[in-house]
Symmetry: C2
Subunit: 192 residues, 2 copies
Amino acid sequence: MGRPGKFTEDRILDTAMAITAEEGPAAATMAAIAGRLGAPTGSLYHRFASRDLLMAALWLRGVRRFQHGVIEALAAGDVEAAALHTPRWCRDHLAEAATVLLHRRELVARWPGELAGQLEGVNTGLAAALDACAARLPGVGRERLLFAVVDLPYGAVRRHLMAGQPPPPLVDELVARACRAVLDPVPEVRGG
Amino acid sequence: MGRPGKFTEDRILDTAMAITAEEGPAAATMAAIAGRLGAPTGSLYHRFASRDLLMAALWLRGVRRFQHGVIEALAAGDVEAAALHTPRWCRDHLAEAATVLLHRRELVARWPGELAGQLEGVNTGLAAALDACAARLPGVGRERLLFAVVDLPYGAVRRHLMAGQPPPPLVDELVARACRAVLDPVPEVRGG
DNA sequence: CCTTTTTTAGATGGTAGATTCTAGAATCAA
DNA sequence: TTGATTCTAGAATCTACCATCTAAAAAAGG
């Protein structure tokens, strides 16, 4: 079988994630990752053909873990739970949340062609859950649901992630209220 | 008086903004800006001592223009108008909105010390308007107002800016509804 | 026309970081 | 033990870009 690896892909990604969460993705150079991990740069290139590939893998791993809860809640038809998953997950996985939610564009400025399929899979996974849920809710369009489940919670946690802090409890109340208001079928007419 | 300038600061910033909006801030290298403007790099450095300074100036100019409307609405005590200013301004200034709202971190990764005062001014300007408005609204804390006026609209437009599209009309309805719901003093009790 | 000031002009230097390359070490199977 | 295989190791290379530097051009004033 040959010599067993000393630095696993996951450990490399964890190190890149720590640097990214602390100092931003630009600070996660190959040398910085290798240095913090105590590995030579060559070992990194043994696992990942390029830095782009490494960063894309980092983002993919995080986004999959994150999306899992959202998709689950949507499948159960609980839109509010899906919306609240974001602030809750941020509390439990602060560094990974910062990496995935804050640094998407910088992380994967040039998406490697090799991973086009993986990206597609991630996108369609959420899209399918969203469509299935929207189909069950009369009067709630896809765009409206997307706002309630993705955009709104994202806006609510962003500032706190940027400060390196977990979102405070108030955020959950704000998200829940706004979510209900947006999905409410007859909001303008009193007593409807 | 000496030879009049051929490339003004504003034209340089406009060019940098165009590149940033189209291909991201990383693509806005000094050579790229100069090339698109038809100027040599030397002319850029005549106006801006460094790339960091140029990008910081770009962000400052944009954020000032953007904030103006928000602060005005807050001074008038109209929270909903303040929240709606974001999607409206994005429609009218698509490229600048993308630059200011999407690329803050990448644009000014290292904020130049020379501009510390300017940054401070921008931050306190909004903060003051926010505090003054919050003081007038009983039961509405500063954090809640910040969410309604900043976080919520930001989340609502982000996806559209990333796609290079102006936010659709639906966004205004979503923002307005969510804004009202969040500021509503007694949302839980029916008929309150 | 001549001087002064300001700007253009672009070649050149310097540096940070990604990537490659060659050597050698660790493990497994026979 | 030996050979095949997989990995570590880190120095060397390559590339892209920021920043500098010298020279010259273009006004404005006298």
